[in-house]
Symmetry: C2
Subunit: 336 residues, 2 copies
Amino acid sequence: MSKIILAHGEGGKLTREFIEEIIFPLFRNEPLKTLTDSAVLGKIKDGKIAFTTDAYLVSPIFFEGGDIGSLSISGTINDLCMCGASPLAISFALIVEEGFEIENLKKILKSAAVTAKKAGAIIATGDTKVLPKGKGDGVFIATSGVGVITKGRNISDDFIEEGDKIIVSGDIGRHGATIAAFRHNLKGKKLSSDCAPLNAIVDALFESGIKPKALHDPTRGGVATLLNETAKRTKLGIEIYEEKIPISKEVSAVCEVLGLDPLYLPCEGRFVGFFKPKDAEKAMLILKNFKSCKNCSIIGQTTKIRNKMFPVLIKTKMGSVRPVDELSGIQLPRIC
Amino acid sequence: MSKIILAHGEGGKLTREFIEEIIFPLFRNEPLKTLTDSAVLGKIKDGKIAFTTDAYLVSPIFFEGGDIGSLSISGTINDLCMCGASPLAISFALIVEEGFEIENLKKILKSAAVTAKKAGAIIATGDTKVLPKGKGDGVFIATSGVGVITKGRNISDDFIEEGDKIIVSGDIGRHGATIAAFRHNLKGKKLSSDCAPLNAIVDALFESGIKPKALHDPTRGGVATLLNETAKRTKLGIEIYEEKIPISKEVSAVCEVLGLDPLYLPCEGRFVGFFKPKDAEKAMLILKNFKSCKNCSIIGQTTKIRNKMFPVLIKTKMGSVRPVDELSGIQLPRIC
């Protein structure tokens, strides 16, 4: 059998065989092995529990730098570590369209398993459902994650004060530009998604004694929307410098051709962090130990609020100041 | 605006407004209110963590006795309490097709919120993604749940022994028969899905000092598949009596007309429990306090294994014995 059929999602014999023959060899771990209604994760003695979810509809399913499998696991791990949590377990719900190639599904599952393993997380529980041909579009994945926030790792926008430095962990817009380029059939040799788990990088910051005040990953809506959300929550202004925003030549080229603004393009392996001024340079040194962070940059700081409607301002390379609004309308459907 | 548009899923202004104006008033709770990357649930000092997920594609979205909203919350709560866990928090990932009526979406969200509230669980984190028209089919939902298994509530198939009694908590096949009847335009006045959370019933058993050895909910694949899976895991045989299996007249009628076997029809508000013989009658008395359990029944027991290929046997009303296999092939696509 080379294609998914409806019976793979019916909960009977074929579902069991699919799980035993395809899922198990890839995701093998103790809680999953029991194959019962819930995974039992054991006790968590110290620390608060963090809990997150996301649905992934990305089109194309396979793209330069990743696929829907690695994207879904990275996204969930990143949501956990953006609140200081270490990933403990991930759930994986697959919605597959009838007729989807089992070989392609295996590639997706393998990529999910490898990404989770590298990040030290397990895929502890899952579900497989099949949509009749034409009622879906290949594969959708919904993942959720449970993590533990140990003592000293509680971070929150509540800690942000006027004058805090804002760091992006690497060049921005790669994921969005990669998907946009694919859709418009633009070829760029070096362009690939930044899709990757961030937990090792966040761990390195904490282990060096640097506590970020807050961390967020600029996914849908990009850096611009993230900064607007943070400004609204903290009731502070934010000031960034265009010349400090790291953007690769490849991403710039795609944005120029397609008329996209990199500040609104999603990243899937970057964070925007808010740091005490005295921690910012030290944080940069630690980030630079990671290949994916070699272009990290202090892009600006929080300020007193000047304009409530537009709390985020950018100083352009030309020296002018303009407001940066949150994303309104749509830029790229099914980007993640 | 009366319909979902792509921008509702883009993570920008319209997504924020959708969350603030529609999701918040319904799901309001502390962890959700922060609207950050993960919900922070607090510490869990005693007990193991249980974790589960399911995707819901049910068609029709609204059916007698429930809708995709109440179904997704009930299903997740039930998966948790089938392993003895009390539901703590639920995640809710929405995949909506462009053009879907916002009023209908509100109904679904309200029904999810009410079901969670009744069961004492919170919807702590979520996600909304929009599929372009024609790439989905109305609404899909993926929920996951985190629960706590407190001391003394660890239940597992490992505890099942030869001679244990098997109880179903109510009449079977209602959810499957309701969906099947709708699709074939059969009208039955009293037929409605059994879709409901089971945690109050499970709590009542534990509070009366009765510890089920194992509990499972007969969803996809129905009671027949559940019994086969349990027999395989425990390496025991299972013997059930046709005359003891509670099936309503309405479900029987639908099955007769459509040629369906109620043993394979999914329930969404029933459990199959395995009990020590001395506990079984007492468990029945407790169950009978719940309206949904008034037809609960001891349907059989575990036995030595006689036939490895077919470990589950049924004694028919005619006195003959026949094997009950797990579901093979498909019976009803998109039943949940």
